[in-house]
Subunit: 397 residues, 2 copies
C-alpha cells in the first residue's frame, strides 16, 4: 500500500467516524495527518479514555488549554463508539464496484476550493461518475431551491441551467425534487455536465423518484457525497451537505425558496465563503419566492434574472462583451433643450419660430439651433414657414 492509498483509507475511515462538519476532527486531521490521527484515536479509545483528558505528541497546538483538552476528550467520546464498525477497505471496494472513487485533498481530482471550508471541510469526497472533480467544477454555478417548486420556478431553473451550461458552466445542485432536479435536467438537455452533491451515500440515489435522473448524472457528470456508502441522508447531513455545494460552486443562485428553506442555508454558506450569491425574484404573491425576496431585501443576494446576469455575478471578467443590449432611442441623444423643442413641434402644420420659442420656453436663437439638430436627427422637418414633428418614436412618460 502506497502512502497515498494509506491516506485515502484513513480519510475514508474518518468520513465514517465523524459527522459532516466536525471541526475538532478536521483540526486533528489537519494537525497530525489523517493516518496518524486515526492511529492516535485508536490508541486513546483502547485506553477507554472517552471523556477523559487526552494528551499526545503533536497535539500541543490543538490542546494547549484545559478547555480545548476537554473539548478533544468530548470529541473522542463521540468518535469512539463507531470505531468498531469502521472498515474503509470494504467501503472503498464498494464504491469501486459502483465505478466510483474516493477523492482526497492529497490526491488527484480534488477540487481545491473545498479547502475554503477549513477544518469543517469534508474528510474526503465519495464520487460516482467523473472523478476529475477539480476540472469538472472549475467553472461551476450552484443552482438551488425549493423542492416544492412552482411551474414558474421549474421553468426558470431549467432556462438558467441550460443557458449557463451552454456558456460552459457546470451546474451544481443537490439532486432533490423541484428546483434541483430542473437545474440538473436543464444542464443535461444541452449536453453539459452537472454534479449532484448528496446528503447520503452515493450508493443510494436518493430521493428514489430522482434515481433515473441521478443515474444520468453518473453518466454525464458526477454524484458526490462526503459521507460513505450506506449512510442515510439525515436532516443534519442535508444541512451540512449545503456547505459543500456552496464551497464547490463559483457562485450560488437561489431560484425559488420559501421563507424557511434549506436553499437559504446554502446561500448563507456561500456568503460566508465569500462566494457571490444570486437570487431569482418571482411574484410576490408566490410563497415559493418569499425566501428569494428575503435574501434580496436583506442585501444578502444580488438580483439575477437570466444566465448572462449569473455569469456577470460569478465574475465580471468572465462576462465578456456587453451581456445585454437595449435598443437606444433616437431621443436619448438629445439635450434638454432639444427635448423641449421636440415637445413643442406640432404634429401636423409647421409652427413658426416665435410660436416654438413660447411653447418650448426657449429663446428664438436656441430654437433655431435645436431645430437644426432635430432635422439632422430626422425628428423634425420644415413645413411652410415653420417646422413640424417627423414620425415620432413612442412617447415615454
Amino acid at each position: 500500500m502506497t502512502g497515498l492509498e494509506e491516506v485515502r483509507l484513513a480519510r475514508a475511515a474518518w468520513s465514517r467516524l465523524v459527522e459532516p462538519g466536525d471541526v475538532v476532527a478536521g483540526a486533528l486531521v489537519a494537525s497530525l495527518g489523517p493516518v496518524e490521527a486515526l492511529a492516535w484515536l485508536r490508541s486513546v479509545a483502547a485506553e477507554g479514555a472517552a471523556g477523559a483528558p487526552v494528551a499526545a505528541g503533536g497535539l500541543d497546538g490543538l490542546v494547549g488549554t484545559p478547555a480545548s483538552r476537554r473539548r478533544l476528550g468530548v470529541a473522542v467520546g463521540r468518535w469512539a463508539p463507531r470505531l468498531a464498525t469502521v472498515d474503509p477497505a470494504r467501503e472503498l471496494r464498494r464504491v469501486d464496484a459502483l465505478g466510483g472513487a474516493v477523492l482526497i485533498p492529497e490526491g488527484p481530482g480534488w477540487p481545491g476550493r473545498v479547502g475554503d471550508l477549513g477544518p469543517s471541510g469534508p474528510m474526503c469526497l465519495w464520487v460516482r461518475g467523473r472523478t476529475d472533480l477539480d476540472a469538472l467544477t472549475a467553472p461551476s454555478v450552484a443552482l438551488v431551491g425549493a423542492r416544492a417548486s412552482t411551474a414558474y420556478g421549474d421553468h426558470v431553473a431549467g432556462e438558467l441551467a441550460a443557458g449557463l451550461s451552454t456558456a460552459g458552466w457546470t451546474i451544481l445542485s443537490g439532486g432533490a425534487y423541484g428546483i434541483d432536479a430542473m437545474a440538473h435536467r436543464g444542464a443535461l438537455a444541452t449536453g453539459g455536465p452537472t454534479v449532484a452533491v448528496l446528503a447520503g451515500g452515493v450508493d443510494r440515489l436518493y430521493p428514489a423518484g430522482n434515481a433515473r435522473l441521478l443515474a444520468a448524472l453518473v453518466e454525464h457528470g458526477a454524484v458526490v457525497s462526503e459521507v460513505p456508502p450506506g449512510s442515510v441522508p439525515s436532516r443534519s447531513r442535508f444541512l451540512q451537505r449545503n456547505r459543500v455545494i456552496a464551497a464547490l460552486g463559483g457562485a450560488t443562485v437561489v431560484v425559488e425558496a420559501a421563507w424557511r428553506s434549506g436553499a437559504l442555508s446554502t446561500a448563507g454558506h456561500a456568503a460566508e465563503l465569500l462566494r457571490p450569491v444570486g437570487a431569482v425574484p418571482g411574484p410576490v404573491t408566490s410563497a415559493a419566492s418569499a425566501g428569494c425576496h428575503r435574501l434580496l431585501r436583506e442585501g444578502r443576494a444580488v438580483c439575477v434574472t437570466d444566465a448572462a446576469e449569473v455569469i456577470e455575478l460569478v465574475g465580471p471578467a468572465a462576462a465578456g462583451p456587453a451581456v445585454r443590449t437595449h435598443e437606444a432611442r433616437e431621443v436619448d441623444g438629445l439635450t434638454a433643450e432639444g427635448r423641449l423643442v421636440l415637445d413643442a413641434l406640432p404634429l401636423r402644420r409647421g409652427g413658426e419660430l416665435a410660436h416654438l420659442a413660447r411653447a418650448a420656453g426657449l429663446a428664438e436663437h436656441e430654437v433655431l439651433a435645436e431645430v437644426g439638430h432635430l432635422e439632422l436627427a430626422g425628428l423634425a422637418e420644415r413645413d411652410g414657414p415653420g417646422w413640424r414633428r417627423r414620425r415620432s418614436p413612442a412617447r415615454g412618460s
Copy 2:
C-alpha cells in the same frame, strides 16, 4: 392686494413663464423674491436685452462671474417670449372656478418637503381638491409604475395601496393608466385619500380615460400640478413631474416598470432626495418587471413584497411591533447535538443508547442529555429500553 396675494400672483406668473425644473429661474426667485424677480424680468425684457449681459441690484451673488451673467442672459431670452401671454390673475380665477387653489411656499398648505428640490423646485402648486397638501402628504408613499402593466402588477399595486392606505398613508402617483391608476383605486377602495401629480394643467384631467378616476381624486384627495391650467402634458413635463412625486412622497415604490420606464426616473429622483426607494419583484419572464429587477440588481432599491415592508422602508420607527410573524418550529430551539440525536431516533421501535450514540456520532452521555431535552420538548419518547421519535414535524432540507 395683500403681500401674500402679490407673491401668489408672481409665483403663478413664474410657473407660466418657465418650464418645470428651471434652476436659473429658481435661483433668481429665491434670491430676489418672486415679486421683485418678476419686476426685474419685465424691466430687462422691456430694454430688449434678451441674450445680452444683464445687471441689477441684488443679483451680485447670482451673477458674480461673467459665465453666470451670460447664463442669466440666455435664461432671460427664454422667458421673455412668454411675458406677453402671462395673466396670472385670470389663471387664478380659472383654478378658483374649478374649486382649486394655488399653493406657494410662503402660504398655508404648502408641503415643505418639496423644498428639498432646491432651486429646481416648483414655483407653486396648482391644486384641485384638498388644499392642505402639507397635512395630506405628511405620511405618504409614492406608488409608481408602468402604464403597460400586467394583471399581476395591477393586483399588487391595488393590494399595496389598500394596505398602506388602511395603515394611514396617503398614496401618491401620477394619475396615468396602469400601475398609477391601480394605486389610486386601491387607496380609494379603502376610503383613504390619494393624490395625483399631473404633468399638464389640473383643468385637463389627463389621460382622458382616467378622467372619472381623477375626478374622484378631486373629491377624496387632490390633483396637483406645477404648471398652470391650460398647459399640455409634454414629454419633458412628464419627466419633471416625476421629481415632484418623488419629493412629495416619504418613499417611492416602483411596482412594475419596463427596462426603460419613466417610473425609474421617479425612483432616481427619490434617491437623489435621499428618500427610500422600494421595488416590487415579479416574474423574470415578465418584461414589465425588468425595470424593478434592474433597480434591485443595481442596489438602487430595496425589495418590498407587501405593505408592511413598505412601511418598514419609509421608517423603521413607524413600523411598530413585529411586522411579520413566521411560525417557529419546535426543532429551531435545538442545539446541533439535539438535532443529531433527533435524526438518530428511530420512528417505530425505540433505539438503545449505544445505537443512538453510533448513529448520531455522539458520546453516550451526550445522547442521554439530549434525549432528555427532546423528551421535554415532546420530540422523543421512551420505548422499551430505548427512545423513539414522537410525531415528527415536517422535515426541511
